[in-house]
């Protein structure tokens, strides 16, 4: 983002390191400001359950897109199979809660561990594939998961899905007052974005960026390419599973078509990140903040006469964004700020 400034200074004096790499304090301040801004809609929506639902789903989707962004954006590994990890998080917590009465607070970490294990198992062979091949393979895993979960009566209850009984309480992660879901999903978003920020500035984060830009060059520079990708995928999958648990406890009903839907789940995470700005920190949040409310509006007002209208718009947005907004809202904003700065000079 600051590369132009940095380039300009290089011409006169050697650029101090902090101008190339944003200082920790500045990044933390931006993060705090951004998250405070993201929290703002929650109190505003308190009175209206329609808006409250939108805010909750937006936080959740922003967090999930942020989790996808770690491997899809930072590392450029275009996974369309994150529905698998999402499903593991959702189903693990739901099954343990309904069958064994275990609190989702324990179910969530178990799901995260399971999702990480599955992610490593899937990724180890598929990370050899590049570009569209990786995308197709991960999509195939999503479909296998769908067919299997749909087929198995135990423990996933097949196509009937799982209905989670209403037992309000903090321990059961089910609340009478819906704003508490808002707090919960906001904390999730905070966690994901915080981890993404730390990761982005860590050694692993730079390794992932290097892999995205040029795998051969990264390998030549001594980066353990497969190791970096696997670690990135593990973090991304674990966070996605946590989001899956929240989704299950919020909706209190999950079934295979909901959880493994490509346009609603697996591809959605990638789409939100793309619209907002793929590989950037605010991107997933911006993408979710734009798309989720618009979609809710379309679903509420147009879909009654015209089934699928919300998805028609979504599809068109995907095509147009891929064509004209490759760096997303975050990229467009950065370009705008830069253009303004240039004019001032």
């Amino acid at each position: 983002m600051d590369s132009n400034e940095a380039d300009a200074t290089v011409l006169t004096t050697p650029a101090p390191a902090r101008q190339v790499l944003e200082s920790g304090a500045r990044a933390a301040a931006k993060f705090t400001a951004g998250m405070a801004l993201a929290l703002l809609p929650l109190p505003l929506a308190l009175a209206d359950s329609y808006w409250l639902d939108i805010v909750v789903v937006t936080y959740l989707m922003a967090g999930l897109a942020g989790a996808w962004n770690i491997i899809g954006g930072f590392a450029g590994q275009f996974s369309l199979g994150h529905g698998v990890f999402f499903g593991i998080g959702a189903y693990t917590a739901a099954i343990l809660f309904t069958d064994a009465g275990m609190s989702p607070w324990f179910g969530m970490p178990i799901g995260m561990v399971l999702a990480t294990a599955v992610a490593l198992l899937i990724s180890w062979p598929t990370f050899r594939l590049r570009g569209p091949f990786f995308a197709i393979a991960t999509m195939a895993f999503n479909q296998v998961a769908f067919v299997l979960v749909n087929y198995l009566d135990w423990p996933t209850n097949g196509p009937r899905g799982i209905l989670i009984p209403f037992q309000a309480g903090l321990a059961s992660m089910i609340f009478q007052q819906r704003w508490r879901y808002g707090v919960l999903t906001f904390l999730y978003l905070l966690l994901v974005t915080g981890i993404a920020l730390l990761l982005r500035r860590s050694r692993l984060g730079y390794a992932l960026l290097a892999v995205r830009e040029d795998e051969e060059a990264a390998r030549a520079a001594g980066i353990d390419v497969l190791g970096a990708k696997l670690r990135g995928m593990a973090i991304s999958a674990a966070l996605t599973a946590a989001g899956g648990t929240l989704f299950a406890m919020y909706l209190r009903f999950i079934d295979p078509p909901t959880v493994f839907s490509l346009p609603d789940i697996g591809v959605r995470f990638a789409l939100l990140a793309l619209i907002g700005g793929i590989g950037t920190l605010p991107g997933p949040v911006l993408g979710a903040a734009l798309i989720v409310p618009v979609e809710n509006f379309l679903r509420a007002h147009i879909t009654t006469d015209w089934p699928g209208a919300d998805l028609v718009v979504l599809g068109a947005v995907m095509v147009l964004a891929a064509r004209f907004l490759r760096r997303g809202i975050a990229g467009a904003l950065a370009d705008g700020v830069r253009a303004l700065g240039r004019r001032r000079q």
Binding site: T126, R130, F133, A140, G308, A322
Partner: protein, 296 residues
């Protein structure tokens, strides 16, 4: 024994359906190096167009080919001009854009048809003939014959004609092809058009066989991906053999294991192939590792 033969024949005929859908996908991939996720939706559009011609003008599905294929060709040309060509060097954005088209077209059709399933009631397509003791549906036999004829035709076209040589030159090395005076951009454009035209043939031939629903192309495309990956991306005969193999495996799995698991089984094969021999049975080794870079 008779049972096995019947299952095998059913599998081959089903495989022909997948092979026919995979042909266009594979041609576009082989030449243009773009994975068009929306290829299945082109087939869906062709199926609906065939239905429409049948329902409103009483045109029979096989004659509809003459109208549907040119229409799809034009659609393919537009697709290349507006979406694929500008994203030539952006594999990620190609996935996004073509997947966006999948969602767009499926739901557009859902809105237009109001979710109603449609089918062409054509007695001929339901005719069954006994063939050495095995019952064979005529419409599916036509699909099989068409797949074979098109594959042979394309093979000869690519081998013996000047435009075919130009296409092969573009596959091998775009820069060198350009230096030889080949209009590479036109070759790419016409190839995507031809790929869409193949989707048109597939759609017209499949319309009398299947009940039309907006998501039907999505089912075909996943199978077609399995076919193409199994046979080898970009390999003509690979798609042919891969298609038949996937069909046979699906029929056998459906018959001997559990119909509900058919899809999971060919996905498992698909993933196993991706992992063990990503180039597929007849594909060029290394294509998947190079991805789409280094083609320019």
């Amino acid at each position: 024994m008779g049972q096995i033969v019947e299952v095998l024949v059913a599998g081959l005929l089903l495989g022909a359906v997948y092979g026919l859908v995979a042909l266009g996908l594979n041609l576009v991939f082989g030449v243009v190096r773009v994975v068009n996720f929306a290829q299945g939706e082109l087939v869906t559009l062709a199926m609906y167009a065939t239905y429409w011609l049948y329902a409103h003008y009483g045109i029979n599905a096989y004659l509809a080919v003459l109208l549907v294929v040119p229409a799809l060709f034009v659609l393919g040309v537009l697709l290349h001009r507006l979406v694929l060509a500008p994203l030539q060097d952006e594999p990620m954005m190609q996935i996004f854009a073509t997947f966006g088209l999948v969602i767009l077209i499926q739901n557009l059709l859902l809105g237009i048809t109001q979710g109603q399933a449609l089918s062409i009631d054509w007695p001929f397509a339901r005719t069954v003939i006994a063939f050495a003791g095995v019952n064979v549906n005529v419409a599916r036999l036509v699909v099989f014959a068409a797949l074979t004829a098109i594959t042979v035709g394309l093979h000869l076209f690519l081998r013996d004609t000047m435009p075919g040589r130009a296409i092969r030159a573009v596959i091998q090395d775009r820069r060198a092809a350009r230096a030889m005076g080949i209009n590479v951009d036109r070759v790419l454009l016409l190839t995507v058009g031809a790929g869409a035209g193949l989707a048109g043939i597939a759609g017209a031939l499949l319309a009398p066989i299947f009940t039309l629903s907006p998501a039907i192309g999505g089912n075909f495309i996943l199978a077609a991906f399995a076919v193409v990956v199994l046979g080898g991306l970009g390999s003509l005969w690979g798609a042919y053999i891969g298609g038949l193999l996937v069909g046979v495996v699906e029929a056998c799995a459906g018959f001997y294991i559990d119909p509900a698991l058919r899809q999971a089984i060919w996905f498992a094969i698909f993933i196993a192939v991706l992992i063990l021999r990503p180039a597929g049975l007849l594909g060029q080794v290394g294509a998947e590792e190079v991805g789409f870079r280094g083609q320019q």
